[in-house]
Amino acid sequence: MASELDIFVGNTTLIDEDVYRLWLDGYSVSDAVALRVRSGILEQTGATAAVLQSDTMDHYRTFQMLERLLHAPPKLLHQLIFQIPPSRQALLIERYYTFDEAFVREVLGKKLSKGTKKDLDDISTKTGITLKSCRRQFDNFKRVFKVVEEMRGSLVDNIQQHFLLSDRLARDYAAIVFFANNRFETGKKKLQYLSFGDFAFCAELMIQNWTLGAVGEAPTEPDSQVDDMDMDLDKEFLQDLKELKVLVADKDLLDLHKSLVCTALRGKLGVFSEMEANFKNLSRGLVNVAAKLTHNKDVRDLFVDLVEKFLEPCRSDHWPLSDVRLFLNQYSASVHSLDGFRYQALWDRYMGTLRGCLLRLYHD
């Protein structure tokens, strides 16, 4: 006596959060039923496995029908087919666009192309996230990227407006889109200790300070400006960064900078001697990173460079975070006292952001 057909349709669409999670996690109906059985739901409710199977199927069908609408969340709000209370709509959207930390670390900074999509098999095996779930998350990234790619204005606002995500999630997506657009390398072994949150933090700072949108003034001729306001780094700014080279190329300037920093920090730094010994190396590292940013390839390696040139040396000398903060503050501020240095504003725009990033990235 097989059920040919078995459906339940409510005037208000029933959403079971637990089943939704299982569906989002990419489990098949039978796996989901097995997982639900294990959760002890049968004992709690006195239901049978057949009831659970039928219920799971119903929910899966509903979610499949909703998925089309979830691809363009404003449609979910205006559609007439499913009557869903607004709070539930918000939950559906938020959960659908929520991603796994493990997954996002694998694709962050990669081109959201078919090529990457082919690698999802490997990512699935590596992370233990089902292929189906990987696909959904990847497609979400790509979809958001495609929609906001050509748009002007604030990246976060655009995402929020077109995908109705919470502020937190919209910021995360802004970071993902920003990383994908600039193709920052995040997968190297050296960078494995960094979390998505670390990168997202950096992305936000960079979007705020290093992009065209950050300058705060709209381009004079709208048509001539093809770059996206928030997604692309300010090319002119990157070009200008070359000028900072003088800080390490000019030996007098470098010495003066060092002595200013050392004088200010003497007695305040636990690792003062290590800092004094390493100052020139560290300064060279930070300035060279800036000077190289004109090349796309070096932009991509930004985080690798920061780790290699600054974070690793500090860590190997066991600098405490407070000392790194003191050093970076002093290091940035002292430049203002270098009379021969003309690029104060440029330096602040660069170091302000970089300091924030480095402090965030400096941990075990």
């Binding site: 208000t12 007439l80 087919i81």
Partner: protein, 1000 residues
């Protein structure tokens, strides 16, 4: 030229991509009414076109206005080839034709295509300017209000309840016309949808004419059905109860939107006669008699054929004159005669209502039903649907005579249905025989003093249980006792009815859903032989269904069934019977005896043991059920009542081969009435099976109750959380050596599993009651059984539910007495609005508290988030006639929609389940959209009358037809009502339906 229809096409959204190259659509709209068509401009390259058209004006007869639907077609313009249709919207403009309903239809409608489903939405505005038509011989019946609700709609009061109206129209089914071979499935589906829409419009108009003839102004309990007879045609038939309704000048008066003139509300109370007691006594000549006889132009075949001939079959005086109870004897007889005279002018004294104004229902006799098996033949002349008319007339006549046999002059809770398989059709009708108070049937024919005496004589809460028939001359053997409530009148030991539990009935404990399920195999046969085989099987099915019901009722420790609905469905090789009802314990009726099992071979020791084991199990179950449903009637010693003590020797042998020749299937239910202790004799495996199946019905999980009536007896504190749903299951039987037992088990499991699934799905709503659970069963193919369930789950407040039954009883008694007082003073104040306090008095108590200034703040806060970011207003749907915790302030007209959906890519759409799931969701969406466009926020008395599903998986095809109906209404939450009333001056011009507008 009595009407001008104006239509404006505003915009579209979410249109499908029709041009692959540009990923866009060049959409335009055709607006068609009757034979006139207008077109909008093409809006190029957009999925969200803004047409903003001029007003398209159609000048039409009001007859057409009633019959024709407005047809809106959205197309994609194509320069080189034919324009592609995107989809259609049919709008029934009937609600615009009577003044109190909607004044404009405006909103987003889903664009529907029978192959692709919903494809975007279109914003349309429709208005009608009606000119007064003084032509008395008109064919239209504009202005007659229709209600699906089977009680007097809230916010109206009944001045007169006229009685039964019916009509049917027939046509050829487009699906079976020769042209169907050459046209596309889409064209064929659309032809069908359009035809049915036309036919229902015509039907409604004709019914309206009959109502006007009877001098009524409304049809309540309107039930319209389709019979898809296949080759032989398409029948659309409807029944209803004609009434004269007055709008109540209730507290709702401050609520109406600015556009509805408030004068009608003020004026109406003066129209009615404030005190009918002053009317001159004596039998004034009823006017209705005359109006009935001249039907203006067309003669309806049934009326002419049956009015004289058939009535003579049953003596007009009937049981009425001969009956005389001991107590109120002469009075009763007088009452009966008067009522009789009022009712006998009616061809069929039937009422489709299931709930009544207080005092309307005097006595209830029991269920009457009739079935007949007919062979379908082609309808040759659609204008003369005589055959179908005659069939139904025959059945109604039978019902009428059954009611007479029960000493009743009327049938209430009346309904009709059909089941069709190939060329065989089973017609069924059922209702509850009853004695009615003539007061409501006619104006001015009843003496005031009689009325008053009646009120005094009728004890509250048990009057309807008292037998209407003569004790010494009973139509069937029944076991009578003195009423346990008033101790004066006789009552039967069980009562079966098709109506809702009367408001003033005194009930002990809670009720529960009781179902009897049955399958019988039948040999495949053709035509006559088939019909004969079915006719022969029917009495047995009916008998067994009743036995099952009775057993289950006793097993629950209850003594009455309400809302009984027995459905018999016919398939190629089997018959299915499904009876649903709500069991209750009526305080007026005696405690049901237990069930005793008797073995056939008493010598066998082990067998004896087995029997006693079974007996113990049954007794345990009864005890458990009594506890579960809180049935603990007060102990009354038998001597006081002086009722005959049941004799345990009375036993019924349930032999399978009983009454072979009986066509009379009506009163089989009642034939069990005489046994106090019910004895099951286990003489074969079949009976064993029966006993087992009795015990396999699992009670709902704790926190759940279910019933198929409007409200659950014993629960009266509903919260506002409701969830209406439809669930469909189809199972395929393994065709190998099917036996009746295996079939029964399959069917039983199907229904039980379905219920279990519902309980599981709705577990978050506990404590909760499934109300108006409506099961329909059909046999779409050889080995398929389809069960469709529609119901509403309502959460109730557990704490308040702990109120003892005692207080409930007290309350109802108290209420009944106040009702009586009111009635004495204002006999015509039958406002049905005085009834609802019964289902939810606690909710009201809460709202009073909220009426403080603080409540206003609460209200604002609550309404803000709900409308913050969604543009789609919530539309509630419920099969009930009310919305818990809310007040219905306006009826906007009936919703009656018919949809066909077909697919040729079944697998791609998720198989049969995916296909039907999507379709039902779409149907809900279209109903909601229409209600919202009328300015409503809920559908009450919603019913899915038909869900015909056909599949052909080999061809990857499926087709489904769905017919739904209900009343579109505006409701206001009781809590909001209080708030609005406190800030009335400010809120005066505010549309009541959109709660969101109050946000600050």
């Amino acid at each position: 030229m009595p009407g001008k229809l104006k239509v404006k096409i505003v915009a579209g959204r979410h249109l499908p991509v029709m041009d692959r190259a540009s990923d866009l659509t060049d959409a335009f709209v055709e607006v068609k009414f009757g034979n006139t068509t207008f077109k909008t401009d093409v809006y190029h390259k957009s999925l969200n076109p803004q047409w903003n058209s001029e007003w398209f004006k159609f000048e039409v007869d009001d007859e057409d206005l009633q019959d024709e639907p407005l047809q809106i077609t959205v197309l994609d313009h194509d320069t080189y080839s034919a324009n592609d249709a995107i989809g259609k919207v049919y709008i029934d403009i009937d609600p615009l034709l009577y003044s109190e309903a909607a004044t404009v239809i405006s909103g987003w409608f889903p664009i529907y295509d029978t192959i692709h489903g919903i494809r975007g939405e279109i914003n349309v505005v429709v208005k009608v300017d009606l000119f007064n038509d003084l032509n008395r011989f008109r064919q239209s019946s504009c202005g007659v209000k229709f209600f699906c609700t089977t009680s007097i709609p809230k916010c109206y009061k009944a001045v007169i309840i006229h009685g039964f109206v019916e009509e049917l129209v027939v046509n050829e089914d487009p699906e079976y016309q020769w042209i169907d071979r050459i046209r596309t499935p889409r064209a064929s589906n659309e032809a069908r949808q359009r035809l049915i829409s036309l036919m229902s419009g015509e039907l409604q108009r004709k019914i309206g004419l009959k109502v006007l003839e009877m001098r009524g102004n409304a049809v309540v309990g309107y039930l319209q059905c389709f019979d898809l007879e296949g080759e032989s045609g398409l029948v659309v038939r409807a029944i209803g109860t004609a009434c004269t309704l007055d709008k109540l000048s209730s507290p709702a008066a401050f609520l109406p939107a600015c556009n509805s003139p408030s004068k009608e509300i003020k004026e109406i109370p003066f129209n009615e006669d404030p005190n009918p007691n002053t009317h001159s006594s004596g039998p004034s000549t009823p006017l209705k008699n005359q109006t009935y006889s001249f039907s203006p132009s067309k003669s309806y075949s049934r009326q002419s054929s049956s009015s004289d001939t058939d009535l003579s079959l049953t003596p007009k005086t009937g049981m009425g004159s001969g009956s005389a109870g001991k107590e109120g004897g002469p009075f009763k007889a007088l009452l009966r005669q008067q009522t009789q005279s009022a009712l006998e002018q009616r061809e069929f004294p039937f009422f489709t209502l299931t709930a009544f104004p207080p005092g309307f229902l005097v006595h209830v006799g029991g269920v009457v039903s009739a079935r007949s098996v007919k062979l379908l033949d082609r309808i040759h002349n659609p204008d003369e649907p005589e055959t179908r008319d005659a069939w139904w007339a025959e059945i109604r006549q039978e019902i009428k005579s059954h009611a007479k046999a029960l000493g009743c002059h009327a049938v209430v809770g009346y309904s009709e249905s059909t089941s069709i398989c190939e060329e065989v059709c089973i017609l069924s009708a059922s209702g509850t025989a009853a004695v009615l108070n003539p007061r409501f049937l006619q104006d001015g024919t009843v003496e005031g003093c009689l009325e008053q005496r009646l009120e005094e004589n009728l004890p509250a809460g048990c009057g309807f249980c008292h037998i209407p028939y003569d004790e010494l001359n009973m139509p069937f053997p029944a076991h009578l006792t003195y009423c346990y409530n008033c101790r004066k009148q006789k009552v039967p030991d069980v009562l079966f009815t098709t109506i809702d539990l009367p408001m003033d009935a005194t009930v002990i404990g809670k009720g529960c859903l009781i179902q009897a399920r049955l399958c019988r195999l039948k040999k495949k046969a053709q035509a006559e032989a088939n019909a004969t085989a079915i006719s022969n099987l029917l009495p047995f099915m009916e008998y067994e269904v009743h036995t099952q019901l009775m057993n289950k009722l006793k097993l629950k420790g209850m003594n009455a069934l309400f809302g009984l609905r027995i459905q018999i469905s016919v398939g190629e090789n089997m018959l299915m019977g499904l009876a649903s009802a709500t069991g209750v314990y009526l305080a007026a009726l005696p405690t049901p005896g237990g069930i005793q099992i008797a073995g056939k071979t008493p010598n066998d020791g082990s067998y004896e043991q087995h029997i006693s084991h079974m007996q113990k199990k049954i007794n345990d179950t009864i005890a458990k059920n009594k506890e579960l449903y809180e049935i603990n009637p007060p102990e009354i010693s038998e001597e006081i009542i002086g009722s005959p003590i049941p004799e345990p020797r009375q036993r019924s042998r349930l032999l399978r081969s009983q009454s072979e020749s009986s066509d009379e299937v009506t009163e089989l239910d009642l034939s069990h009435g005489k046994k106090d202790a019910f004895v099951l004799e286990i003489d074969d495996t079949d009976a064993m099976e029966d006993v087992h199946s009795l015990l396999t019905d699992v009670p709902p999980p704790s926190g759940f109750y279910s019933c198929n009536t409007e409200i659950m007896p014993g629960i009266n504190n509903w919260t506002s959380e409701i969830q209406m749903f439809t669930s469909v299951r189809v199972i395929r039987l393994s065709s190998l050596n099917l036996t009746n037992q295996a079939l029964n088990k399959n069917f039983n499991d199907l229904c039980e599993n379905l219920l279990k699934s519902l309980y599981f799905k709705l577990r978050s709503m506990i404590p909760c009651c499934l109300c108006h659970v409506n099961f329909t069963v059909s046999l779409p193919e050889d080995e398929l059984i389809q069960v469709t369930v529609t119901a509403v789950a309502i959460t109730f407040d557990k704490n308040q539910a702990l109120q003892t039954t005692k207080t409930h009883v007290e309350k109802s008694l108290q209420r009944a007495s106040t009702d009586n007082e009111e009635l004495l003073q204002f006999p015509l104040e039958l406002c049905s609005d005085s009834l609802p306090p019964h289902p939810f008095p606690p909710a009201k108590a809460v709202t009073v508290e909220k009426a403080s200034p603080m409540g206003e703040g609460n209200f604002r806060n609550r309404s803000t988030p709900s409308c913050a970011n969604s543009t789609v207003g919530v539309v509630k749907m419920t099969p009930l006639s009310f919305i818990p915790g809310a007040k219905i302030t306006k009826y906007l007209g009936i919703i009656n929609m018919f949809f066909i959906r077909e697919t040729t890519s079944l697998r791609e759409e998720g198989g049969v389940s995916g296909f039907l799931h999507a379709f039902i969701a779409e149907v809900f969406a279209m109903v909601r959209a229409h209600v919202a466009a009328l300015g409503g926020n809920a559908v009450v008395s919603y019913i899915m009358k038909q869900c015909v599903f056909m599949e052909n998986p080999n061809k990857n095809q499926a087709q489904c037809l769905i017919n739904v109906s209900g009343d579109a209404v505006v409701f206001v939450r009781e809590s909001e009502l209080e708030v609005i009333s406190t800030q009335q001056p400010a809120a005066n011009c505010q549309p009541a339906c959109t709660g969101g507008e109050v946000t600050t």
